[in-house]
Point group: D4
């Protein structure tokens, strides 16, 4: 319910078209659809600039189908993240134009109306970090950001990164995806004058603690301009980066 | 052994019906049945207002069967939580009227003698939190509370919750079930003047740490009137809420 | 802003007494007073049954004075917790009838209009846990609960607790305050059929981890009906217990 | 050393003005000044859009003076964070125009050449979070962002926040500063379609774990578009937000 | 190499039967058998009163067979802990008189030469803790302690424990095995004047943290005379208890 | 209340000397003295073989004085642990024969009636661990154990320990006190066939984590027969060791 | 790009053979091969003395094949660690001379040109630690170190280690691999005057915390000259040790 | 007791100069001096190549004086680490030639007989890390290593490090000291082919967790050849590095 709708409602009250009980009730009801197990949020696109995204993890196939169908009524683009091939099979049967980004584990339906000129550059430290990096890249692109990729440029061979300074400088925002010790975020943060969204991954073993080590590294970054999202949360970083790109145009 | 039985015993001693050795022995023996692997506590209903509940996790089918059969002799309602479909099959073969609440993973035998007028409202933040919420709801209902449900009203779309203020106000106690960051408990705590029992769930990934993140969130709630149970402990919250409702009537 | 005020506002709109712009604005504005560093919430008493409580820790004397003076305009009872003697000196100079509960570290202004018949029993495991227990007891009493105390009855000498079964049975809700290993909450939970609000304290050393040990103990309680608040949060437990007593009358 | 300087150097080599040994050496040397205990980075302004910021914590007065004097030669604006009043006294004796933002604990020398039109909105959950919020606000303003403040709007009294939706909508980026359970970041994230930089603070006690609780809350935020900086790192959030505003203009 | 052997060696040197190089070498060599992957310690029985025990976890069947065969040459009793049924099949093929204690997951070969008069009482809090309790009981018995068992007497139904005070008083040492919150160790510690060896188990979920919760509970026990072994380490507790019983006779 | 007193009471009921109400009441009352802030447990000596020990930490001087005076009526030996010199001054004014073991921070009043023949050997790894070792040694001696000391024999110079094998062999129980990495407990455990009570200390820095490192080391000891008490809990280890020695005579 | 190549390039610029644009570009490009998912680092051998090692964990078979083939063009020796038998089958099909060290889970292609005279001694505490020890030994040997092995010499039977003092003294560097409590590293560190590289393993259970316990033990070692690598990181320790041996010759 | 002394002893036995009892006794006694609170280890120089180092933290002035005087009899160089100015005053009164390295907090008595040709390069990330770096540098020099320093070259301004590649290449071993996120160790590890000893420092705040963050970073380093010592353990790193340099000459 936006400002305009609120004024209309009050005008209907003022003109007597709507009685007070009805107005009271309507002011309490904002547009969401109740599926019982889920309250699908149809005006999130108005409020947040992008429709609700379905996190598949922990939901049954039936629940995902129900939510996707409900969103399909009103949304330009629908994303379902952490989707297995089985879930994609269900969704594709329902909505044949659905696309599966396998490495990113994302189901996408529809395309964004436009693409930003400003670039979100997604960087990965190692080959094993690519699935998370792809989750970020696919998400950002689906929301309308122009996305570039730079993979396997970890700090143990610094020249691989330093050789791409031009690409680093061209980006409006950088998403740095790294597991192990996660030092790449600090190094990139020291090389650019743009915001860096750091994504720790659970790639590693032992004292990596399932991604806690790179998470702490990134939170303690000595370089300015680095903010961090949850471990393996490529989606969150891509979403954040796309929000910036869309503001910049 | 309650107060009345103690007086009777002492009267038997006073009247010489019971000699001192026997009295000594009986004062040491309180009513529980020893199955070897379990000491079934038949007077818990007297002491705690509800019979012993069987936590199936970590027990063999044979052990659960033995305990349920022993409880069946004296209890109005029996609950077996964290029960798989396999365990239900065993129990149903034994006690055909047993009912399986699949989403809640609870086996229930019998019904509570009465239902409270006061309401325990069970709220879930997301769709994935529903199994834990159902464990709370089924437990509370089995003990005799009137239960209402409000699911998928997490803080990322606050209007879904704010649209149900009336329901929030009607409850005598609220159970808030939330994973991810668990912020819903604080928000609900700030909207009502009733006790809130918060249940963190292990829904999430990475820095969620298997539910530690929402647990800490709820323990640090800036809203008054929020108390917390263990991660995924829907049973505990439902039990606590029902205790309140039964006192209120 | 309560239901009644909303109806009045809409009636003013319907009758033309209030124009739409003003109504829009007023619907956005709920009653709080902005002190710059604090937004004092004057209708919390309506919404939550008790005025905002001032947590002194981390606030300057000037800030506390400002907030207390602002609350003083509308509240029956004001509580300022974690208050040092110095802070009390400031407040007393301002409001001479202020009372300082030294052991509980609480400043209280005013008295609750009535006291519940139902009892909140505050139990402490050891002598060192008494300050937190007193914070709970003073808070609950200030909100209007009838409070009883039972101190130094830890599990290393179980008979001290078992000797008070009558008092345990008389309570409508029990607050159990314990540091060290915090086992008292489980033991009390097994002896009563009433809700137990457990408060871990930071009393202990080494593997106590500043109260984490009793916190975990209480969260994992094998007794039903135990819910937990933050370490040393006597206030939270007292507030929660008083909410129950006030509902029960 | 920027692109232009590299070309000039190579042209000098091509023209024979510079011999190869000298060119080799110069390509190795980038401009920093070596104070022994510190290597002051004079071309960071070129590389990162803002001069090196001095974190006073852990440095002696003499070291801070040396670094500030060295930076003073080339920088428009100098910031020294986590500065005590004593450190300010030292610096002011050296550079009289230095200004001390007491609540933010920041020493500022000079003003940014321009201010962005886009707004960085700094929000605090409680009164005790204001020092960290001020660190963010002063930092962002010093770098050239237009800053607005909205303090003490925590989730326990949600209407205090909801009453400022207009201000939320006006911001290009929001910095949310919260201790205790840190739920405010998720709530704000659900109300806006702009990036939210969340700052957990160490305000709280017990299971707050020195800010770990709100840190985890924010990392697990169920709202999209939330990224997180270190506990109490107001500087980092302000710097990140200003980078966005400066790109937007 | 014991005292007697050392004297003999020095006597051989004194008498010229052994030259100095040989003596040097022999003083470096103590009796163990080198299997390449394991150095079997044949004189541990002399040094520690019981032969080396084989922890099967993490070893291949071949390695376990080799070690058991090597020990079989010199040991009265051999224990292999954490043994699966598959491992038992291997060992039984080799040494037909081997016995498998299924619940305790222990393979035993041989019997202790005698049994102590003093009692090691093994207590379990719940039914699910029995496998660990059995590991303790079987171990203690195999080393020569007289073992009694008292299972499923957790603190949520205290009378189950209090009803066995006589058995508690008869024990020379008590092994208390408990998961969940592990409060039983403190309660038992407060009821007896004998040493209590506490074994936390990983039975539980959520904030149980795989047994860390009862481990901390037991370490912080407010009752004197409680010492703790590793989570699920029934073997260690049984071994410790048996050492006491054997000293007492 | 012991068995004998129970029989007497029942005999009085049988003979009519005691009416039922009185008997009921008395069965509820076990002997402890209520000081308000403390319930002093006078029959602990009967139940546990040693009177209640006063942990001074967290108690006021007045509280400690009250408890000590109450215990002084019935106890042979009184111990007050973690006592500062100030607390000793208070106690000495009250009870002039009180003795202060400064390094152990223990106040002792009275002597044990007898000393065991069997030896409790207290071993410290380093010089800095001595205060905790002394707490163990003084406690064990006060309860009646014969105590020997072996200090500064950490594993970095193994010969210092190996040179005392005879002393190790003479002990009935060994208390090993070690900070840093705590490896000494495992090494001692491998050299003896007697129970080892390990005490981790908070001596160390960094990844020592206030004693968590040696605590974990000791819990994971690969040597059999090692049980562990809380960090810096010399008292607990001395108490445990003395219980063994007193059983052995 | 080494020093020599840089001079040549600058000489070509000086002589006009290379224009400035080309020189600029080339200075930005260092030799790595871009496979899309990986940037293979061909000059690491020059920079680090050994080619890039492939960590197989988290990579697909296709990715590993691609990287190995790319490295095969220029490297003397290739190592692929954490390789399963399936991965070896893929690689062997491609490069038949590849060898699989099964226990070490390493695929090796080629042999080092020479072997050092100085010895890297790899010591394991238990049989279960051998896979990690073998990873260290195979790695060190593949890089050119002379490797000796000493396995199953944990501290619970100290004489097994003390009997090999001669071997300890012969080593130039020692790699100590230990799980459980990891005390072996301190003991070895106290016996030698050479650097000790300690490798904690995840062998153990409960409070071992997946190797955190021995990791902390080793970091807190009271013996000088002990440095630590990640849990189960045999590769890292072998690599480190070989670097030393190669310097020593 | 070295090999030569052992032979002599055995020869005395063979020749009848020493009887067997005496030989037995002497073989048990290795040379350390027992001060009661400390067993000073005089033959550590033989066994470990450097005399015992006194860690002052946790010791009284009297204890330190005693140990230093005892060591002074036999040692070339004595180091006392973590020494305050007060401790230095005590020691200087005793041994006037003692020198105090203030920044390193080390007292040094005597000089090493020779200095290695190979270089230990000590690198610090920031100015605040210098005290720990100095502890490493002074220690390594005192043991006989040639030491070079490179301070304040953290990754946020990478050119400061890259400008010193020549110095990096000249070192035989590198000690990298870094707090905050500790990324410098990985970056240095990727630039050199020599062993890197990484020292995390407790410099930082919040999620730095007192140095745990850089510790984890360094343990998870993606660069080969990095080993780690305890947080703030400059001494340990300097000792380790010097051991390498002394072997290399």
């Amino acid at each position: 319910m936006d400002e305009r709708r609120l004024r209309e409602l009050l005008e209907e009250v003022a003109s007597g078209q709507l009685d007070i009980e009805q107005a009271c009730a309507r002011l309490r009801n904002l547009p969401f659809e109740d599926l019982g197990y889920a309250k699908v949020d149809h005006h999130r696109a108005l409020r947040q600039g992008f429709p609700e995204v379905v996190l598949c993890q922990g939901k049954t196939c039936e629940q995902i189908e129900g939510i996707v169908q409900s969103l399909h009524k009103s949304a330009d683009v629908i994303l379902a993240t952490r989707a297995t091939a089985d879930i994609f099979a269900c969704i594709q049967a329902l909505i044949p134009e659905a696309v599966y980004h396998e490495e990113a584990r994302i189901i996408q339906i529809g395309e964004p109306p436009s693409q930003s000129a400003s670039i979100a550059l997604v960087i990965s430290a190692g080959t094993s970090d690519i699935p998370v990096a792809e989750e970020a890249a696919v998400t950002a692109a689906a929301i309308g950001a122009r996305v570039e990729r730079l993979y396997d440029v970890g700090v143990s061979g610094l020249h691989r990164l330093l050789g791409h300074q031009e690409l680093l400088d061209a980006a409006a925002v950088l998403v740095v995806v790294a597991g192990m010790e996660g030092a790449l975020a600090s190094v990139v943060g020291g090389l650019v004058d743009k915001p860096v969204v750091a994504v720790p991954t659970s790639v590693g073993y032992g004292a990596n603690l399932g991604g806690i080590a790179p998470l702490l590294t990134m939170l303690n970054s000595c370089a300015g301009g680095v903010a961090v999202v949850n471990i393996d949360n490529g989606f969150g970083a891509g979403y954040f980066a796309a929000m910036l790109c869309k503001q910049l145009g």
